[in-house]
């Protein structure tokens, strides 16, 4: 009677879940990578994600238009990013504390808006899983193993993974990326070459926040298709941690996000398979392994030298 489980099926399940779980982390952490590479530590990612999740959901709920929802989420992120920018770039506030302030604001506002505009947990038809059908009868999603792993995710999941090379390209291969890296490393030098340090930081933080908004939307209109208060449940903070894990490189963030998510998927399977490991211990696994992975000795890129340091030209 019992369903037979092969090891292959389990591995497949783990990888599939891991990829999907990584989606919000990728958006948020890659976005945060931009902010941090420009020298701004945005601890408010969690709050931005919540706002993005809410506005994305609300828009889809009201209009049914997913793209509009995505735009709304990004827009909410942009607004939050601008708040963060004004506070921590223009007013040069302590970034750790302003991030916490932004988080509280986002948490409060998203829940408040939810209460006044929705009231109850609702569902929407979000981004569905693509199946990559070549013909009517043949879909790439049906290909054994590969199909499950690679061809049965929602558009936003693919977007998250495509974002990584794109972000790496922008950071490393474009003039704007060079400016971001430079203002995060040595704003005085960049300033002396006529780079608008504040401008670049504004843009990087705001872009990062827009991505954090999309990260929230990836939960509310792609992975879960519901909105619930505080639904990100700490993901934003994990995303910040993943930026450190990834040594401020998009590919490093990718490795971190995948490691964390795959281990999270693994721990779910450990529980499901009744391996006699207490659930709490299983739940701990991704956190422990993330720390251990960083403890492994390998060469890491240095933290952006000007991270958390406000820049002013020194003229009072």
């Amino acid at each position: 009677m019992t369903h037979e489980l092969t090891l292959a099926a389990i591995l497949l399940g783990i990888i599939h879940s891991g990829i999907r779980l990584a989606t919000p982390y990728l958006y948020a952490a890659v976005g945060e990578t931009f902010a941090q590479r420009s020298g701004v530590l945005n601890l408010g990612v969690e709050g931005i994600m919540l706002m993005g999740a809410f506005f994305g959901f609300l828009t889809v709920f009201r209009t049914g238009n997913l793209w509009l929802g995505l735009a709304a989420a990004a827009g909410a992120g942009v607004l939050m990013g601008l708040i963060m920018s004004v506070v921590s770039i223009t007013f040069q506030a302590e970034q750790g504390i302003s991030g916490i302030g932004l988080y509280m604001f986002g948490l409060g506002m998203s829940n408040l808006l939810f209460k006044s505009m929705l009231g109850t947990v609702e569902g929407v038809q979000g981004f569905s899983e693509l199946r990559f059908c070549v013909t009517d009868s043949f879909c790439l999603a049906d290909v054994p193993v590969l199909g499950d792993i690679f061809f049965s995710h929602s558009l936003l999941t693919y977007g998250a993974f495509l974002l990584v090379p794109l972000a790496a390209w922008v950071l490393n291969k474009t003039t704007w990326g060079l400016k971001i890296r430079s203002v995060g490393q040595n704003p005085e030098a960049a300033d002396s070459l006529g780079v608008n340090v504040a401008g670049v930081r504004y843009a990087a933080v705001t872009l990062g926040a827009a991505l954090a908004g999309i990260a929230g939307a990836s939960l509310s209109i792609s992975l879960l298709n519901i909105y619930q208060e505080n639904m990100t449940n700490g993901m934003g903070f994990i995303a910040v941690a993943l930026v450190y894990f990834g040594s401020w490189r998009p590919y490093g963030v990718l490795v971190g996000a995948l490691l964390f998510s795959v281990v999270n998927a693994l721990q779910l399977w450990v529980q499901v398979l009744n391996l006699n490991i207490p659930s709490d211990v299983a739940v701990m696994m991704p956190y422990v392994l993330t720390i251990l992975a960083l403890a492994l000795p390998f060469r890491r890129q240095l933290q952006p030298a000007a991270l958390t340091k406000p820049f002013s030209r020194g003229e009072s």
């Binding site: 291969k173 474009t174 003039t175 704007w176 990326g177 060079l178 400016k179 890296r181 430079s182 490393q185 040595n186 005085e188 030098a189 960049a190 300033d191 002396s192 070459l193 006529g194 780079v195 608008n196 890129q301 240095l302 030298a305 030209r313 020194g314 003229e315 009072s316």
Partner: protein, 519 residues
Amino acid sequence: MMTEQHLLPSGLPRIERVQMQGIVKRFPGVLANDRIDFDVGAGEIHALLGENGAGKSTLMKVLYGLYQPDEGQVLLDGKPIEVHSPTDSIDYGISMIHQHFMLVQNITVAENVALGLRSTREPRLDLDVVSARIRELSAKYGLQVDPQAVISKLAVGERQRVEIIKALYRGAALLILDEPTAVLTPQEVEDVFVIFRQMAAEGHALIFISHKLDEIFALTDRVTVLRDGRVVGTRLTSEVTKKELANMMVGREVSLERYRPPVEVGEARLRLHHVNAVNEDNHPILKEVSFEVRSGEIVGVAGVSGNGQKPLAECIAGLQRVQSGQLYLEGRELTNLSPAAMFKAGLSYIPEERMHDGVIKDFSVAENMILQDYIHPPFSRGIFLNFRYIAEHAQKLISDFNVKTPSRETPVKNLSGGNIQKLILARELARRPRLLIAAQPTRGVDIGATEYIHAQLLEQRGQGLATLLISEDLDEIKALSDRIIVLFNGEIMGIVDNDEVTVQELGLMMAGERRAPVI
């Protein structure tokens, strides 16, 4: 190719004349520039001379758009211009090479050059184009720079070349050089002077900030001397003497000659025996280094920056692991002891990067005076600090070493570079060390302070202190050392008696020519 024929090789119009008129710049409590008039023309190298704090940098920052003047105006070819930011000044064709490198550490030379410039392939970077142009410029001006190299891996001299490339690349019609030679070897200085002269010949205007009189005579056409924010005078370099300039700058008579009285050399205080060390990439940075420093002796370590001076000092101070070999202090082997143990054993160390490694900027003067010894009585009793003694100690050193500070509670960051160096010197000498390592003790320090520091070092020598003087300033080495060790690539090229060697010979050794050691 068109550019080659133009007066300015970059194709930019030359700046015939820049005039700064009546520039006033105030900082709270300080009048940094007091109605300063200054001008420079195409093809001219105009020196700006003055002690630290005389207002040279402030004036140039006004010109470069980093500061806004409170009064006065800047005329470019007769037309008043407003420079609000480096962007504006770059647009006007003004470039500046700063006293401290304005380089982003962890990216390549080409990226540093490309930063802030429009790419030919926006939004993508065109580093290949930039690199090609860098090579072109390198070839033209003889500036050896690899465009692909990462800045953090470059020696100081190379970084200076990158700075010059950056300016050249932007085709600066007017180039402001803020103490560009502070970190260069004599040969390198000569090399960049060639470039500067070439640039002037091409029609660039150059402003050269320095307090090294030799260089001013070697390079510039005119010299303006600033003191306390005012112009003391402007002279044609050819019509003025060194002594005259020095007096204008300091406002009193200065002696430029050091007198090294004969001292009785005592026992060996420091002895290194075949010391080897590697960096984190496992590349050797010190190779079979052996020498000794005796009581009453100043041993100078000469060498181009990045040839092992810093690892040598750090090995002795316990900050860098010795891979093999032994290190003896007063006969005791102290290889690979902790810095604290070395200090306890009688070492004092004036680190090269004083703001970075020598003081804690946010600590007060008094707090900085006890950085090594806070834990020992009488500075502390048990775990509690003895504030009364600390205060007395600080007060005594401030007056003994003539440290100019509003009070002993003033944060060190509000002190001038020279006074910070005096503070460090005071702290290190007050510890009554058996051995002193003084790394670049006068870099970036004005003449007055330099004079004072040199005098102190010599006085200590007279009292039997063994001193290892690491400096990239050959004049300083020559002026103070009894013996000179030349390092190249982590190896000792030779240990020579100061009185038996010329600057030229040292220069050759610094470039890698070995001399039989003279002990």
